[in-house]
Symmetry: C2
Subunit: 104 residues, 2 copies
């Protein structure tokens, strides 16, 4: 399932780090490895998992492959979260953050 792929992908701390890096700007696989102490195949495998979860998109550019955040994955998380909106109001601070960000 789609939803399953997303949560499974984000369950790994290394993949969350990769995703966060890409959120700060698109990069190719080699650039992502900088300062991460991770092998080339491991990075490639992580990116494949993130791709399958639609959290990340690839774009061939010559012999490089540029990676960027795929909004589809995030939207699916937002949808999942929306299902439980009934339980949100009790924690106001985080919700204010969300509302503030969306009102613009």
């Amino acid at each position: 399932m789609m939803e399953h792929d997303i949560f499974r992908a984000l369950a790994d701390p290394t993949r969350r780090t990769i995703f966060e890096k890409l959120a700060n700007g698109s990069m190719n696989a080699s650039a992502l490895r900088q300062g991460m102490d991770i092998s080339q195949p491991a990075m490639s495998q992580h990116l494949a998992v993130l791709r399958e979860a639609r959290l990340v998109r690839e774009q061939r550019e010559g012999r490089f492959v540029n990676y960027q955040v795929d909004p589809d994955g995030l939207a699916l998380i937002a949808e999942w979260l929306a299902k439980y909106r009934a339980y949100w109001p009790t924690r106001i601070d985080a919700l204010k953050l969300l509302l503030k960000d969306m009102d613009q």
Copy 2:
């Protein structure tokens, strides 16, 4: 880490089902097992993981333990999601859902 516990907890389909059940009304562990083909210890272990992730709260009631959704966990997901708001606008439908739910 806190964030890690949450994503790890939600990575398991059985735990997501349990969480979803609890979102439709608090229940004790035995009631949760109904129609789930899961052993008593397995259920207990899943609930422990959800508890550690602050996705679920327990409340002793005699010899029963009533479980309910803990908003804290959801709030943490919302905070995580908010960090990537820059990538939301491209998928409008899901955002409209969120906004509609929150405007009331």
